[in-house]
Symmetry: C2
Subunit: 178 residues, 2 copies
């Protein structure tokens, strides 16, 4: 499938719908180039410090967290509905013990601007470089959210990724709508 450059604001409704329904696939790289993939259900897109950004949340207990400390770059990949099982798998097993790229038959294609690869089988891709990180502060968080999202008290680190490149399948709009 040939990929074309798009604006980072394109296909926003479709991307959010996929995030809400199954999740998106966030890919990191270790220093020696081994990719790992994690499912994310939460994130925001917009402008911060005059830069286009994709903001993602990662719990400190996650393998992805330790990898981001190593290489502060990531890609966000928007899967089609057909990949729902793979997305679920990537959200339930850890990359510490599993090669999820291999398990899922995902093709890692070198990022254009970052060390982390994209997943070729996905519809749309954002390449990001972390320009800021801070933490969810329990004392400043709505009580119902603490109960619903943090029963284990493992509050997220928030990563602010400057979007360096965005591209998608040529028929992305159609695929996102299906």
């Amino acid at each position: 499938m040939s990929k074309v450059t798009v604006d980072y604001t394109d296909y926003f409704s479709g991307m959010i719908k996929r995030m809400r329904e199954d999740g998106l696939l966030m890919v990191t790289s270790s220093a020696d180039g081994k990719p790992n993939v994690m499912t994310i259900g939460w994130g925001t897109v917009g402008i911060l410090w005059s830069l286009p950004v994709f903001v993602v949340l990662v719990r400190p207990t996650r393998y992805t967290y330790s990898r981001l400390e190593e290489v502060d770059e990531f890609t966000v990949n928007v899967p089609s509905k057909e990949l729902a099982k793979a997305v679920l798998h990537c959200g339930t097993v850890s990359g510490r013990d599993n090669d999820k790229f291999k398990d899922m038959g995902f093709t890692a294609v070198q990022g254009k601007m970052v060390k982390a690869p994209i997943i070729e089988e996905c519809i749309m891709h954002y390449e990001c470089r972390v320009v800021h990180e801070n933490d969810v502060i329990p004392e400043a968080l709505e009580k119902t959210i603490i109960n619903d999202a943090y029963p284990q008290g493992d509050f997220h680190r928030i990563y602010y990724g400057q979007i360096l490149a965005t591209y998608a399948d040529e028929n992305a709009l159609q695929k996102l709508k299906s």
Copy 2:
């Protein structure tokens, strides 16, 4: 102009374009119901903690900051290009010394879900309630951003607003494109 309910992901490209070009108008309310408006050039939209959110940045030196400590609700209003001068004005004078609603001839219409009003003359409106706040951490921020955005060292507080209602002019798409 009659307003219709829209999805919070609708018109995203147009909203971001207006934010980048002139800025959006963020409205807060004091405890006694007096509205104030501030221009924002930075913000993100998406899903956090399974909630639709509009994330905005406010410097602690701003009048809006003290007001959010009073009433933790706000609206974000997307102005047309015709309002460019008003948006500039709202970004350069403080509500401490000026009634910007009156100065600009803005019509404050009561929010449906929050105490802060919307600006009727704008194209699109998000009503938000703060569910979390944290701060930009200088030590974890890209050096070039510190130099460009914080020469005075007044690092932003980040407000995470759960979007409770989104609505727009019936011809919003056309107005955002013009």
